[in-house]
């Protein structure tokens, strides 16, 4: 730690390379823009109706504003600002990072890109050309009848026949899901709950599909009667389609996948640096969910998008999935690299395969048929890869790179010159050293030279330089002077030619085939004695294959002449005939089910192995998996099936009979009421207060947190994270998924309500109920401020207390207030405090708004 302090004693220059890029990028300063934005009051209109949120155009609008009106508006603004506001404005600017124009273009592009406009699926090509011939011999072994004793999840998925239901329940069933569910439910002695009311179901759907509350209260949301005029009524199916097409859908469902991927925006450990451009992966997931990218393609891109479709920005960004593991950057050790590889392999296998491969790091898996050898074969696939900031579009990347390199090679030489200067100055200044000793130090470092080693150990700290010591300008040593002038001029020349920097993302890179040593007990000490193994996948998920050799993986490689292990893994993963496709389909449909019902058909969503739970409805699980595979892996198809089912549409009422026969609701004879997640809580308050900023994609925001909650304050809390709540305005009021997730310091309000901190692949959010949560709702500035905004919103719209409370209930709970609520709330509003306070009526309303924010009804979906 103290070593690090010296490192930072010298100021700027740390992000030299980055600065170089920024310089070349003709950066359009948008920090000020956000500043302007905050003054705009038209945001409240965005949230009138959840199905009508317009996410589009916003960015374009910002760009137009930036170029046309910037200077004029800024001048106007500054003249109207009070002194205090100016301080806040500066504070704001500090935290609203300048968004490069390339980032804005990236966001605009993202919105226009559709999966259809992308080249044909790489996998389809590969299947028709290569697979049949390559796996010919394989096929016949494979046709042998499947071993009946196989663990259920390892069997190939096939379509089960839905049970026939008794005539009196025919009406109830909306689709085959209901037949499977009903069959089990009746045999457990239970009957389905009546359907939920439209109001309740509308709210449930809004939350389940978009993660946003219902904000418009209607007497009827859709028509059950098909004979009615389609011009004036809307069917349940169309109602659902509107929600599925809403941009909020991707933002909500991406969170589920990011939890599983263990995504966070920082490295973790000692330094816990914010990861530059990590958001491109988050954006890819939102984009994929919204555009219903087929799940098999979604999976393959995350493993090897850069190899399969190098010219497709989305496919390249998808590999961010493999970069989510935390890693230590402060004097990292080899074992930590092994930890990172482990996290990559474990996250991949648990998230996608539903297999806990990590156990095999030290020993053959106790329960599942996964050997240590197979584990290290998986590690070998990734051992030569690296995290890198890649250009998402390789073409524009190349032309940029050409000029960038011309600058970089010269800049590097200049840096070397500067190091020589620093070293020489430092040696010359040494006290208590003879000139002879100084000359020994001036020589290049030679580990054999014991005298030099001794001298270095004494004065090492004064000779240890890194790029944080570098300055923009310096005086070179006399012998370097001539070269210095030439280089300076050239750097200047090429920088002018540098085109705008194309968008970059945090991605995985590297396609080398390599071997890894099997480490006994997972211990690096056994590295030299361990056998070397090449890439390979899991035999237990490869029908007809018991043992891997170093070459078998090539059967899945799309390109025979140049086989790449990650591409092969990607293809194997989604191969429903010869690879893991069956389990992949089961795992993802189960994850969707778990989100809707709070309980998966398999309760261990990340473990379908022998130690995992067995499915409560195995046939239903397989039926859904087949539906997914046969409908081109469309997740929206599965969403639609689930939410149109009668099972989903049941009421959530719990009876004593339920409590006795099925307290956990395994048989699904009711809807499970559920608490909203931390992000949904934040978003719902913002929506109710009319404050949600619907801007999609791009760099994450850092909303202020209490000073007490700021850790790692090497630079003091003020420099680590914003703590001034006055800056919490529109620009930061974006959805929870865009809030920066720093591993050692998650935003407390979100973490308290069981938000994830990306330290492991989170299969399901916990729901703890704690007094510290209640304290946060009582006293956190976020909640009290949003209550105030909500009160203001209501005051502007209504002047009569009765209307005010009606509007309040509509905005927060998505329904009409009951008469007893109205009378109670109006009484609350009219109660004068003992000592008459200034604005007491307004304060009462603010207080009541907060009550609604805290209430159980606000927090539970039922």
């Amino acid at each position: 730690m103290s070593a690090k302090k010296s490192k930072t004693t010298k100021k700027h220059g740390k992000y030299r390379a980055l600065r170089l890029i920024v310089l070349g990028c003709a950066a359009q300063a948008i920090g000020l823009l956000l500043f302007i934005n905050w003054f705009e009051n038209d945001f409240s209109k965005h949230c009138e109706d959840v199905t009508e949120i317009k996410h589009g155009e916003l960015i374009q609008r910002e760009i137009v504003k930036a170029t046309e009106e910037k200077s004029e508006r800024v001048l106007k603004l500054l003249s109207t600002l009070s002194r205090e506001d100016r301080v806040t404005g500066r504070e704001r600017e500090k935290w609203s990072k300048q968004i490069e124009s390339s980032t804005l273009r990236y966001i605009a592009n993202l919105k226009q890109t559709k999966p259809d406009s992308i080249s044909p699926h790489s996998f389809v090509k590969y299947q028709t050309t290569n697979l049949s011939s390559k796996l010919a011999g394989f096929e016949s072994e494979n046709n042998a009848t499947e071993d009946a004793s196989l663990h259920w999840s390892l069997k190939r998925v096939s379509r089960p026949v839905a049970p026939i239901v008794a005539i009196e329940f025919k009406q109830w069933c909306k689709n085959p899901i209901d037949q499977f569910v009903l069959d089990k439910m009746l045999s457990a002695g239970l009957a389905p709950n009546p359907p939920a009311s439209q109001a309740r179901l509308a709210r449930r759907l809004s939350y389940d599909l978009t993660g946003l509350p219902l904000t418009q209260v209607r007497s009827q949301y859709w028509s059950e009667d098909r004979s009615q005029d389609p011009q004036t009524t809307i069917s349940y199916r169309n109602y659902i389609n509107k929600l599925l097409d809403n941009d909020g859908f991707g933002e909500h469902w991406a969170r589920m996948w990011l939890d599983v991927a263990g995504y966070a925006d920082s490295n973790g450990y000692e330094e816990d640096e914010i990861r530059e451009k990590s958001y491109t992966y988050r954006d890819f997931v939102i984009w994929a969910m919204n555009n219903d990218l087929p799940f098999d393609e979604f999976t393959r891109w995350q493993i090897a998008g850069d190899e399969l479709e190098p010219n497709n920005a989305m496919a390249v960004a998808a590999t961010g999935f493999m970069t989510t593991a935390p890693y230590n950057t402060f004097r990292p050790q080899e074992s930590e690299r092994m930890d990172e590889l482990d996290k990559q392999v474990s996250t991949y296998s648990s998230a996608i395969l539903g297999m806990t491969v990590g156990c095999a790091r030290c020993h053959d898996h106790f329960y599942d048929e996964i050997s240590t050898e197979e584990y290290y074969r998986m590690v070998a696939i990734f051992s030569e890869t690296e995290r890198t900031h890649a250009y998402l579009n390789s073409e524009s990347g190349k032309s940029y790179r050409k000029y960038y390199d011309l600058v970089k090679v010269r800049q590097d030489e200049l840096d070397e010159m500067q190091y020589r200067r620093l070293r020489e100055d430092s040696i010359a200044d040494l006290e208590n050293f003879t000139e002879e000793e100084k000359n020994i130090l001036r020589k290049p470092v030679d580990p054999e030279d014991l005298e030099q080693d001794r001298l270095i150990s004494i004065c090492k700290r004064c000779l240890d330089f890194n790029d944080s010591y570098l300055d923009e300008d310096f005086t070179p040593l006399p012998e370097d002077e001539e070269r210095y002038e030439k280089l300076k001029a050239e750097v200047h020349y090429y920088k002018r030619l540098l085109p705008e920097c194309p968008p970059q993302g945090l991605t995985l890179h590297g396609s080398k085939i390599s071997k890894t040593a099997i480490l006994e007990n997972g211990d690096l000490k056994n590295k030299d004695s361990g056998d070397l193994v090449g890439p390979g996948f899991l035999a237990c998920l490869t029908p007809g294959l018991d043992n891997w050799n170093d070459d078998q993986w090539q059967r899945w490689a799309p390109n025979e002449s140049e086989p790449l292990p990650r591409s092969a893994l990607a293809n194997w993963t989604t191969d429903t005939t010869h690879g893991a496709g069956s389990i992949v389909a089961r795992v993802i449909v189960n994850r969707l089910w778990q989100q809707y019902f709070g309980r998966g058909l398999v309760t261990t969503a990340g473990d379908f192995g022998l130690e995992g739970d067995i499915p409560s409805h195995p046939e239903l699980l397989d039926w859904l998996a087949m539906e997914l595979i046969e409908h081109n892996w469309s997740l929206k198809h599965i969403h639609r099936l689930i939410i149109t089912s009668a099972t989903y549409r049941q009421d959530s009422r719990v009876t004593l009979n339920h409590m006795e026969l099925d307290p956990e609701n395994i048989y699904l004879s009711r809807f499970n009421s559920r608490r909203i997640t931390s992000e949904v809580m934040r978003d719902s308050m913002l929506v109710a207060a009319g404050n949600l900023n619907p801007t999609m994609y791009g760099p994450a925001v850092m909303p202020p947190i209490p000073r007490d909650a700021v850790f790692n304050t090497e630079k003091g809390p003020e420099e680590t994270w914003p703590i001034d709540y006055e800056i919490d305005r529109e620009a930061l009021w974006r959805r929870g998924i865009y809030v920066l997730l720093r591993r050692t310091m998650p935003v407390p309000v979100l973490k308290l309500f069981d938000g994830t901190d990306g330290s492991f692949s989170c299969q399901k959010r916990k729901t703890s109920t704690l007094p510290t949560q209640a304290l946060a709702l009582f006293n956190s500035p976020f909640v009290t401020r949003q209550s105030r905004f909500l009160a203001n919103r209501i005051l502007e719209a209504e002047s009569e207390p009765e209307q005010q409370v009606q509007l309040l209930v509509r905005l927060t709970l998505g329904r009409e207030a009951t008469s007893s609520e109205i009378s109670n709330f109006v009484e609350f509003l009219s109660e004068k405090p003992a000592q008459t306070e200034y604005r007491w009526k307004e304060k009462n309303l603010e207080s009541l708004c907060q009550v609604l924010f805290m209430s159980n009804e606000f927090f539970y979906i039922n």
Partner: protein
């Protein structure tokens, strides 16, 4: 499926069914001071054995204190002073300097005659209560991975820490306070942040709750200055009325009732929690005992006094970090001055805590642990500092059923690596759980495809340390 596994499933199912039970504040309304009637009501697993220790106070000397300059006296360092280390030595920074003798004088103390350096004159008075572990190892050179190893038994993030396991195993001892409390120097928090006291996959109520020796001991405890207590009380009444309407419409949902109770507790905590931090009613003698009356030791002394009060009131696990991002024990250079200052800050408070616990008859049921994430090398760095040594370092324990007045384990004559009775962090964890009456092999939680535990079969209880 094994029997054990089945029984674990039953436990987790039970946990699900009585979600209300988990965590502090669930039954609410029991008084803060001296509440113990609900003990065990929400213990997830009942263990037949009862440990001697009811709570743990862990004094975490963040940054890696130098045992060689405090408790592990190595006369050979004098002989080897300024000479190169014989053989190879692993250090974090390359080019280790020559061996450095301790700049401090050692003296034997108490009936046990155990050595303590001049830096800890007050702690030295208690050696007869202490068991020194002189050959600890954590095998991780870097601060944060080592901190994770010491806390969670693994050198990376994602596993629950010892405090969370203890809280999970024992349940809450006081409905109005968290069962696991963390305190750190308010000036700078330790690196590694919230992951150091994370419950990871264990239920949320086992999360460490940071407590500050300030006007706002718990985050969000204090009301906005514009909101009065009476108006919040009014708010609470309205809220609970609404919640009851809602619960009546949605019967048989325990979670809703649990949440209703959590608001009552929270409201009450606003009055009761500050009492823990309030030292204004303490006598001058107490303040003197904990060194609160001296500027250097004021913060740490106050924290230890709070810790004692919490332990008394049923908090299970209290971890206090001394030293954060700055002002920590990481003396790569200028060790003499730095360690002298750090010991000034901690000596009196630690001695005061031990004495106070003893006076009150609480030492037998309170386990006090002292140590950092690793120790420091016999070789010098930057002429007058020491580098990290994760292979052989000193920690100590006192009270809670630990054998007093002994030194267990030994490093080589230069204090680099263990030669006898090495104590890994897994052994340490197994032993601490044992002292709390918990069996490290059966205290498990199902996650990620297997029964997870803190020790994972990698360590064993050190019988020699048990009284």
């Amino acid at each position: 499926m094994s029997d054990l596994n089945r029984s674990m499933k039953a436990i987790q199912r039970r946990e699900f069914l009585k979600k209300s039970g988990g965590g502090f504040g669930m039954l609410a309304l029991s008084s803060l001071l001296g509440s113990s009637q609900s003990l065990g009501a929400n213990t997830p697993i009942s263990f037949p054995k009862v440990g001697k220790a009811k709570s743990v106070i862990w004094l975490f000397m963040n940054g890696g204190p130098s045992g060689l300059d405090l408790f592990s006296h190595k006369p050979a360092l004098e002989k080897w002073h300024d000479k190169r280390f014989p053989g190879s030595i692993e250090t974090l920074f390359p080019h280790p300097g020559p061996i450095m003798k301790s700049p401090f004088k050692f003296q034997r103390h108490g009936e046990s005659g155990l050595p303590v350096s001049e830096l800890y004159p007050n702690v030295a008075k208690h050696v007869d209560d202490i068991a020194f572990l002189n050959a600890c190892s954590c095998h991780s050179h870097n601060h944060v991975p080592a901190c994770y190893m010491v806390n969670c038994g693994i050198s990376r993030i994602g596993a629950p820490c010892l405090g969370s396991w203890a809280s999970y195993g024992l349940g809450s001892g006081n409905q109005d306070l968290p069962s696991f409390v963390v305190m750190y120097d308010h000036r700078t928090a330790p690196e590694g942040g919230a992951n150091l006291w994370d419950a990871a996959y264990l239920p949320g109520e086992n999360q460490g709750v940071p407590f500050r020796a300030s006007e706002q001991p718990i985050l969000y405890l204090n009301r906005d200055k514009n909101i009065s207590s009476s108006s919040q009380q009014k708010q609470l009444a309205m809220l609970q009325k609404m919640n009851h309407w809602h619960a009546n419409q949605n019967p048989n949902q325990q979670e809703l009732l649990t949440r209703i109770n959590s608001f009552e507790t929270a409201f009450k905590m606003q009055m009761t929690a500050p009492k823990i931090v309030d030292t204004s009613n303490e006598t001058a003698a107490t303040k003197n005992l904990y060194g609160i009356d001296v500027e250097e030791s004021k913060i740490f002394g106050t924290q230890l006094l709070m810790a004692r009060k919490m332990a008394e009131q049923g908090v299970r696990f209290i971890q206090i970090y001394h030293g954060g991002y700055k002002n920590n024990w990481d003396s790569h250079g200028g060790l003499e001055k730095a360690h002298r200052g750090l010991c000034m800050e901690t000596d009196k408070p630690i001695a005061g805590l031990l004495q106070d616990l003893k006076q009150r008859g609480l030492l037998d049921e309170t386990l006090v642990i002292w140590g950092g994430e690793f120790g420091r090398t016999p070789t010098s760095q930057d002429q007058n500092g020491r580098d990290h040594n994760p292979y052989g370092f000193t920690m100590w324990m006192a009270g809670g059923g630990v054998k007093p007045g002994i030194a267990y384990g030994e490093t080589d004559e230069l204090g680099y690596k263990p030669v006898e009775n090495e104590v890994t962090m897994h052994d340490l964890h197994a032993t601490i759980l044992h002292l709390l009456g918990l069996d490290h092999e059966s205290l498990t939680y199902r996650f990620g495809g297997r029964e997870q535990s803190l020790v994972n079969g990698l360590g064993h209880v050190i019988k020699e340390l048990l009284a």
